[in-house]
Symmetry: none
Subunit: 281 residues, 2 copies
């Protein structure tokens, strides 16, 4: 029993965090699990019983007590107080979030808060504006595709990467077109009748993506577009397009709302695909 004996355990949560960072590597496996869980879910530690927490972490109650003691606390209850204290006055009861948002508008803001606020607004607008049936139709198109080809450049590239990653994880075959060193015409030729082009493009619209969409539409290949404006050159009457507009902060546009929509689109596609598969059987 050569425990990591700490004479003076961190009495406030903000001190506990760095303490765990420094000692994490030296902790036994189970104690590491607890540490990770505690840092990710401080509210659970604060509000639940040792039995309920240990079950969520996947360890025994004894381990929870050991964890607390290894830091230097008298026991689990002693440590729990620190977690409870950390959430005493901090949390805004959900309804008051908006108020605090507006209140903070006049006071001086950090750079980060500018961006978080812009992101929140963009997401709120996305939720409000998005056409549910358009989302469903787009998902259906993608779900029916043999292969989904994804294209997008510049600021859209992270979105392409994310959609590719998520779709593949969901078992939807997809290929990133942007990275390939072919001409647009060559790329378009890769798309067969039952494939779908998923094009992402934001202002200023790159000619490449636009060209690709044009060729595909001319070939009667289905196109699903994700863009920042229905007036965008890649959004047309005869395709399926989704719109998301990011709030601008001193010339910079984020991708928070866009990523949210992208995830939603991918998950919906996965769900529709799963339904189709079931129907076939």
């Amino acid at each position: 029993m050569t425990k990591v004996i700490q004479v003076k355990p961190p009495r406030v949560f903000s001190d506990l965090k760095p303490w765990l960072q420094n000692h994490y590597q030296d902790l036994p496996k189970r104690l590491q699990s607890v540490a990770v869980f505690a840092m990710h879910n401080p509210d659970v530690i604060a509000l639940n019983t040792i039995a309920s927490i240990s079950e969520q972490v996947g360890v025994t109650p004894s381990t929870m007590v050991r964890f607390a003691k290894s830091i230097g606390y008298l026991g689990f209850s002693d440590m729990q107080m620190v977690f409870q204290e950390s959430m005493r006055h901090v949390p805004q009861p959900y309804s008051e979030r908006l108020n605090s948002m507006q209140r903070s508008a006049d006071t001086e803001q950090t750079v980060l808060s500018h961006f978080t606020q812009a992101a929140s607004e963009s997401i709120a607008r996305l939720e409000h504006n998005v056409d549910a049936s358009a989302l469903l139709k787009a998902s259906e198109q993608l779900a029916q595709a043999r292969v989904v080809y994804i294209a997008g450049q510049g600021r859209a590239e992270p979105v392409v990467a994310y959609l590719h990653y998520t779709l593949v994880k969901l078992g939807v075959q997809s290929v990133v077109l942007s990275g390939m060193p072919h001409s647009m015409a060559d790329k378009a030729r890769m798309l067969k009748e039952d494939d779908v082009l998923l094009a992402i493009s934001f202002s200023p619209y790159t000619a490449n993506t636009r060209e690709l969409v044009d060729i595909c539409l001319a070939n009667n290949t289905n196109v699903v577009a994700l863009t920042d404006s229905t007036l965008s050159p890649i959004a047309r009457g005869d395709d399926f397009h989704l719109e998301v507009l990011e709030e601008e902060v001193s010339g910079f546009r984020g991708l928070s709302a866009t990523m949210c929509l992208a995830l939603c689109l991918a998950v919906e596609t996965g769900r529709v695909r799963a339904e189709l598969d079931k129907a076939v059987k």
Copy 2:
């Protein structure tokens, strides 16, 4: 014993508040005291024991139990849960997550709203939790670098792409390491003394990125890490790391908050760089 028997007590705090307003007049004197106290100090009700609370209110423990029962709860503990739920950062208790997801599966609008809500939560938490000085230090590191090398795989790849895109636009020379078909050791060799590695990694942490960080730290190359936990293997005492945690929706984690932080980091880097350039002149 003609108690105010309520068959269906308010299950959420926001419903309890108006309930008490309506029934306040009909309550006995002591129960009124409890009601006033509870509305003014919900956090105390949520976090303390019945003995401690009743002492603060100036009543006996029995009165607390009676109060809870008069509203319709099974007992004090039952009522306490409602108060606890109101101060959780994560809105739903684990067990109810699946239900809510299945419920939402019928209408498309709510699928999106689940994701937007998760995104908003994540961004709110980011704003609240991020260490401003850590952000500044990380930006300074990146600003001083001759070249910023960016690494990250899987879910981190979109973040890599976005940081690369934004940094380049801001005039900060940066190179994406992930795409290169070199060994980690070879990649690490590319980094000179005055370069910085910007590593992005989320659970489950890929061995590659971790290895790269290890080599760089061994070579005394500065590392700035962006991760979902300060306990992640790529976060260490001797580097500069930023933390962002995305809320999960039925197994899917978005990137909304992460993208927000990435943009913020890039912009800050650009700003610091501009200041440095000015100082040189």
